[in-house]
């Protein structure tokens, strides 16, 4: 933490005796219990399981003379409560892994599969003048069409690599995570969902132009 102790943690981390430290710990937890309970509940299961996770979070936050809390750096741009939420979520994931092994969820896919899914959806939307909200999954194609798709895949891969990080992230949020424009806007800080739609349309136009410049034709259905 380079000596910069955040205001919220100062009473706890600079307490001169155990009595003051315990009082500061109780106060800190009281302030953030609602957040920590929400994190614990967000992993499902009943009340007992949620309380197990909550207790695990508190245990780990105290461990090593509050070493996890000491690692918070207020100069890195994050608020303490947001960082605490991220930290608590990771602890809940650790708790789940200890009990049940590695959790399977929609985010636990390898990158190759994710990219394949994205390209399939992009190929479907680029083969016709579809709205970004309407995607065609061109799964069933013949050998000739497959050759065209592979050629398009190469061009798409190259075009994707030339996009800005923000543009690639927009595509991932929309086509891999299937998020609506309103949620994407909240994540990337766009003023309204309309901004997201406009950006996505612009990106698809770029990709379409890249395909056309390489003479790659569309594939029906």
């Amino acid at each position: 933490m380079d000596g910069a102790v955040p205001l919220q943690l100062s009473p706890l981390l600079r307490a001169s005796d155990s009595h003051l430290r315990e009082a500061a710990w109780d106060e800190l937890i009281a302030q953030h219990t609602r957040l920590l309970l929400a994190v614990a509940r967000s992993f499902g299961g009943g009340t007992d399981e949620a309380m197990d996770r909550y207790a695990y979070i508190l245990e780990k936050l105290r461990a090593g003379e509050f070493s996890r809390l000491r690692s918070f750096d207020p100069t890195r741009g994050a608020s303490f409560s947001t960082w605490l939420a991220v930290m608590a979520r990771r602890l809940c994931l650790d708790h789940h892994r200890i009990r049940y092994g590695r959790p399977r969820n929609t985010h636990d896919t390898n990158d190759a599969n994710a990219l394949r899914g994205l390209r399939r959806q992009l190929e479907g939307s680029l083969s016709s003048d579809l709205d970004v909200a309407e995607l065609v999954d061109s799964n069933s194609v013949g050998p000739d069409a497959r050759t065209v798709l592979e050629e398009r895949d190469t061009v798409l891969r190259s075009a994707l690599a030339r996009l800005e990080p923000r543009e690639r992230l927009l595509l991932a949020l929309r086509f891999q995570d299937d998020l609506p424009a309103s949620r994407i806007a909240a994540i990337i800080g766009a003023p309204t969902p309309f901004h997201v739609y406009r950006q996505l349309n612009g990106i698809l136009c770029q990709l379409r132009a890249a395909l056309e410049s390489h003479g790659v034709d569309g594939v029906d259905g």
Partner: protein, 186 residues
């Protein structure tokens, strides 16, 4: 693959990441479903936890209703003065922004009404309700600071909608609530 640190994820969620780090972090997020998941889930969680509790809004409305009732029963008050206490109770807020009371976040379709703060010297208010694809569903002018969409305006559960109110001031200027979002739930 080296994943993002907790502090980087938190700073990105707070949209307070140093500019020098933004491209690198977004580049990683574009290719890492795990870190994207952390960002998405944390954002959702904080939105739920930080949402103002309905019981507080309800108490404010009840208190406002009680004060209004006292004013109405006080001798000498006529119907022409009904707008004065309402305007006082629903203050317009800052100089530049019109205060928007609701709806916000998850909202029940039944009893849906739009409420905003009054603006000093406002001639009228214009409310516009849009779907998430940008198409306008309903637009109306009002001299009051409450509006109820007509029955013909179809709002669907699970859908997100956007509304904005512009106050037209008598000197020709305008003030706005800015775009507000809500989600219809059953």
């Amino acid at each position: 693959m080296t994943h993002l640190t907790d502090i980087e994820i938190a700073a990105y969620v707070d949209r307070n990441l140093p500019t020098a780090d933004l491209d690198r972090v977004e580049d990683h997020l574009a290719g890492c479903a795990e870190c994207r998941g952390h960002v998405l889930e944390t954002k959702q969680l904080l939105r739920r936890v930080r949402k103002p509790r309905r019981v507080i809004a309800g108490a404010s409305v009840a208190a406002a209703a009680a004060i209004l009732l006292v004013f109405l029963t006080w001798p000498g008050n006529g119907p022409e003065q009904l707008t004065a206490p309402a305007a006082t109770l629903r203050d317009g807020g800052s100089e530049s922004r019109l205060l928007a009371y609701g709806p916000s976040g998850e909202t029940a379709r039944a009893g849906l009404q739009f409420v905003w703060g009054s603006a000093p010297n406002a001639a009228s208010y214009r409310i516009t309700l849009s779907r998430s694809d940008g198409n306008t569903l309903w637009s109306a002018s009002s001299s009051d600071t409450v509006a109820v969409p007509p029955a013909g305006v179809g709002l669907h559960s699970g859908e997100h909608y956007f509304w904005i109110v512009d106050a037209i001031i008598k000197d020709g200027s305008t003030r706005s609530t800015g775009m507000r979002e809500f989600e219809v739930v059953e």
